[in-house]
Symmetry: C2
Subunit: 262 residues, 2 copies
Amino acid sequence: MESPVAKSGAVERDSGVPVFRQIAEQFRAAIRSGELVSGDQLPSESQLMDEFGVARMTVRNALSELTAEGLVVPERGRGVFVRARPPVRRLASDRFARRHRERGLAAFSAETEHLGEASVDQFECAREHPTARTRDLLGLRPRMKVVARRRRYLLDGEPVELAESYVPLDLAAGTAIEQRDAGPGGIYARLEESGHILAEFVEEISARMPTPEERLRLELPSGTPVILLTRVAYDTAGRAVETTDTVKAAGRYVLEYRFPAE
Amino acid sequence: MESPVAKSGAVERDSGVPVFRQIAEQFRAAIRSGELVSGDQLPSESQLMDEFGVARMTVRNALSELTAEGLVVPERGRGVFVRARPPVRRLASDRFARRHRERGLAAFSAETEHLGEASVDQFECAREHPTARTRDLLGLRPRMKVVARRRRYLLDGEPVELAESYVPLDLAAGTAIEQRDAGPGGIYARLEESGHILAEFVEEISARMPTPEERLRLELPSGTPVILLTRVAYDTAGRAVETTDTVKAAGRYVLEYRFPAE
DNA sequence: TAGTGGTCTAGACCACAGC
DNA sequence: CTGTGGTCTAGACCACTAT
């Protein structure tokens, strides 16, 4: 394995800066400068031990720091590679416009129409008691139930998003909202058909590290955070008629919002 | 150190699940269930070695996994603690409303008016050539310069946000935009005074792990991502008159956007 | 001074990828 | 088969915190 870093492999033992951090910094610099690009292989651990004259743990410490930063991805039996940056997907805030529903597109389809081939490979639907948070978002009284729709979305066969939608039971009972396929235009279209014309969406965005379960289901490399997006839909009477929690792989998405300066 | 996990400290050596991961999972469960709460101290490394009958590296591996997930924070010479969750700050999308400027509040002040005492402790201002990305966002021709304002914002004395704003030089030259204190209402107020009435904002949001420099400047514990927010301000003529890149500690913020269902 | 986490060494055995 | 990263052991010295 030839690496620009390998040749200049030198660390100061008594500089006060830990050796493993010096090694990590050399690779950080190489990646920043473009010397190493997406998919490039780093020298193996044993090569790095030789080149820097350190123990294996020191090398692994350096590599795990880079892994935690999301810069490199180790592959068992193969090597450590500079992380490939999948193309970024842009979600514009008009993605729930009525014109999309009128063309028969559900929310996720409208979002991703130009981004790839969308599909759902995990789906659960149930009537249940909402969590306190969901109850607050929907403005429900205690003991009222909701219809919960949980699903995993794929784009071109790769998992990109986990979503959980909740609709108050009195609005969803017996409708296509309780079916796997909620019909053309999705659940928003069904809600409007039953007289709840949508007036406003409120979205909340935050980010954090994924839970182990989310890392598995979204097939995330370590060192990559998730974006949490919660949307609440209000009808023209000001009632919250639906809320969706989504977990997206950060770095695969950019969210865009436009708003007037008033 | 008494810990609920410590007493049930048991791992299966040949279950196929790595021992360090089993140890980590026990603490994850304890934190999830509320058995361990913010600020609680975990058993020390040597206690964990005894309780689980493993080597120190195995214990440290478990702890570093929890650290990378942002669940715990090690403190040198003191111990490992369940991470304190600072209060979440909500930023509503009306935070740039003209009414705030008319009250003399600059953007950050309007954002954070109810959240704490805002201040700036690092400031740089320079005329320079923009990066390709900034030039695109502002729709500038090559070789046009911008005024760059870089600063670090504090809330109640704690760093919460890094911001870099860019204004085309022809709009900023000689104005208060080049001063540290851009005056009442901030740079948006100055732009409107010079005839560029603001019409629309476009914000882009993404998230990633911080660079080492960002981690230092924002005093972030490891295992906590940052939210990147880029805003472009357009005037009534449709010209991009300003753009700001901000880096926020995720987990300290929730962003909120409201938009009509159209 | 005793206890904590931070760094580092020098080994070992394993599962997995690729030839 | 060889080389890779994944896991684990058993030590060592250090800087820092608290008492």
